[in-house]
Symmetry: C2
Subunit: 148 residues, 2 copies
Amino acid sequence: MILSKTFGYAIRGILYIALVQKEERKVQIEEISEKLSVPRHFLGKILQELVRNGLLTSVKGPNGGFSLGENTLSKSLLDVYRTTDHIEQLTQCELRFNQCDKIHPCPLHDKVQQIREEFIALLSKTTINDLITGTKKLQLHNIATTGV
Amino acid sequence: MILSKTFGYAIRGILYIALVQKEERKVQIEEISEKLSVPRHFLGKILQELVRNGLLTSVKGPNGGFSLGENTLSKSLLDVYRTTDHIEQLTQCELRFNQCDKIHPCPLHDKVQQIREEFIALLSKTTINDLITGTKKLQLHNIATTGV
DNA sequence: ATAATAAAAGACATCAATGTCTTTTATTAT
DNA sequence: ATAATAAAAGACATTGATGTCTTTTATTAT
């Protein structure tokens, strides 16, 4: 797997909020973590980061919780990746050669680079909304955790 | 990065042995780890595993060390991957959805699957020898570690 | 103002990948 | 046979990702 567990939690958290947020209600971390079987406090920190990065909104206190707006739906998976992972990791030499770039490529560089660019392009052009309105309608039960 | 540090060490270890083994001499772990700046005992364990999996030969005692034959040169990167990593990880759902396969795909499944297959094909069809006899001649100094 | 509620924050725990150190085993040269 | 050498093996350490628990802060309803 290329993407971290943290990233997976972030995406599923966002999707959960988006899916249940038909009415303008806020969703609490307790509910999200239970429904998705994601560790509550760990998820809490991930959502905090998403709030800091403007992907979610949160309100403390009674009737508080997390919510998201239209702008979040148009964010890309790469935007999420930037808050959960280290973006440089997407572009480092797979063989970890000392020097590996276009001028001094490792023997795998060109081939890997092409695949890498496809993957980054996928993350970059796929939005949260794309995940929701994909070919098959996304259901709540689909976004439960796999435990891996 | 998709590939583990362990995998990178394994590849560079194999390449080092292949490159200096013009004459039939055996190469010692001490020399390999120093020249590649790879932790000695950690590399030792990795090479041990490669020996167990038939990718290298080792001899204990004076004048002992590691060596490899023609058969190793024709092994694929996927063969190396199998000794250093968990092969299932190459095919697990990137979003870690509960259920994600051809019948019940996560919203990213098809696109990811395609890229995944390209990557596995690359590992599968690239041999050790391909790395050595690539477009640019592989030099010893190229395979030092990057420290990442 | 006070109490209740929910996120934020911080300290600590666990686990897998990575790394180090010491002891054991096999081989070779004398 | 003995000593020297080098890999193998095993125990332990470190680190980053992941996970848990407790305390703090902000908000709301009363």
